[in-house]
């Protein structure tokens, strides 16, 4: 919260767009403004009405370097925008640095994302230390189509203006905490010696040489990848990682997404009855990759680039009672199967489970 808890005295606010950036179509700027305002009106009783040629509560403008508010902009990057807390005059106003590369997508700086953040200030919020929050100070891109206001921001704004009038109260995503015993994973893969744990729009990255776990947005490294990756595995020999969601998969060559992806999973030999892959791991020593779907699994020959004959088979018949597999990866000869908050260590040579741990055992909690 902003010190002094400033808030608007009315829930029905006005806004005005004073000028436009030449880098975007005017209609795209207006759409970004409306979408950004909706982020906050969706979860509070607040309404926003657009006005022309008169003073509005929230004046939105693109400004250049010193624009006479004692907070000069600094050119490309650095400070992207700023906004003032609720109040008369400049209170509530949003200033955007005209020298930034404003866009509607993942290149440059997404105007909608920055506007939604600044409007949080216009309504009385200050910065949040939750790295997943919209009100976190540094910029991070999320596909506007997938954007959901995080719970941290919902809690903050509702503490000022109360809940929305809708019967069902909106909720938002929370930021995964590495040492949260409840933490489960969407997918896990190794990547050049590191282990990458996928969860929602985040990835937790564990480097063997670093004690702490690094949390990042998937979009930070791979803006074209969707959130909620469902399966992933590394083909160490080819230095490739395959990532799966629904009936599509992407290929990482090194650290970059290879052109021409995503491709249908059916190119790998799955029957059309398979709609998604739950988990996968690849056995470097045999060149075989194992795909887990519901209670069955397929085996794929990386050299022949085709599914082996005689599959699918029942998971339980060859891997034991590990239940549905959320995620899997192989490391140092063992395969680790994740089911909810439990992790099974499987020895492929002995063909049996040799250990059971918590899902977060890799994070030095």
């Amino acid at each position: 919260f902003t010190p002094g808890n400033p808030k608007w005295k009315t829930n029905h606010l006005t806004y005005r767009i004073l000028n436009y950036t030449p880098k975007m179509r005017q209609a795209d700027v207006e759409a970004a403004v409306q979408k950004a305002l909706q982020v906050w009106s969706n979860v509070t009783p607040l309404t926003f009405q657009k006005v022309e040629d008169k003073e509005a509560d929230i004046m939105i403008s693109f400004a250049y370097r010193d624009h006479r508010d004692n907070s000069p902009f600094d050119g490309p990057n650095g400070q992207l925008a700023h906004a003032f807390q609720p109040g008369e005059g400049i209170g509530g106003d949003v200033h955007l640095d005209e020298e930034e590369a404003w866009t509607t997508g993942g290149r440059g700086f997404n105007l909608f994302i920055v506007l939604a953040h600044e409007l949080g200030h216009s309504l009385g919020l200050s910065h949040s230390s939750d790295p997943g929050a919209l009100m976190y100070p540094s910029y991070s891109y999320t596909d506007p189509k997938e954007f959901l206001l995080p719970q941290d921001d919902i809690d903050g704004i509702q503490a000022i203006y109360g809940q929305s009038a809708t019967a069902v109260q909106p909720t938002g995503p929370t930021t995964p905490q590495a040492c949260d015993p409840q933490l489960t994973f969407d997918a896990i893969t190794t990547l050049r010696g590191e282990i990458i744990f996928f969860k929602g729009r985040y990835m937790l990255r564990k480097h063997p040489a670093r004690a702490e776990t690094e949390l990042s947005f998937i979009s930070l490294f791979w803006p074209r990848l969707p959130s909620k990756i469902q399966a992933a595995y590394e083909n160490v020999e080819r230095d490739e990682v395959l990532l799966f969601k629904e009936d599509k998969y992407w290929l990482l060559r090194g650290y970059d997404i290879a052109p021409g992806y995503p491709k249908p999973i059916y190119h790998l030999g799955f029957p059309k009855t398979v709609k998604r892959v739950n988990a996968a791991y690849s056995d470097e020593s045999t060149g075989k990759t194992y795909f887990f779907v519901a209670d069955r699994y397929w085996r794929y020959d990386e050299n022949k680039r085709s599914m082996d004959y005689g599959y699918p088979r029942k998971i339980v018949s060859d891997f034991g009672r590990i239940g549905r597999v959320d995620a899997a990866f192989q490391k140092d000869g063992y395969v680790y199967f994740f089911h909810g908050q439990t992790q099974f260590q499987f020895d492929p040579a002995a063909k049996r489970i040799v250990g059971q741990m918590k899902s977060i055992s890799w994070f030095n909690c």
Binding site: T2, P3, G4, S71, F73, N77, G78, Q79, L80, A81, H82, A83, F84, Q85, G87, D97, E100, F109, V114, H117, E118, H121, S126, H127, S129, P131, P137, S138, Y139, E212, L220, F221, Y255
Partner: protein, 84 residues
Amino acid sequence: FPVAPAAQDESKTLQLVESYLQKFYGLQRGHHPHLRRKGDSRLVEKLREMQAFFGLQVTGKPDLDTLEMMEKPRCGVPDVGQYM
């Protein structure tokens, strides 16, 4: 993966740190050059505050992770105090 920023010389680093803490953590703009020594306790105190806010390791030193965070594009509103 983003490559760590090239090692900068110390005075540049100090300038980046000072400017960041003045803008976003209320470090007073000092006019006492002799205070510009790295050991300036006020600077260290503000640096620790910034590191705590971002969930970085609180070292009070401008380590690599801290500099990386300071170089990220961000909002111009300070992280502490009011913005009037």
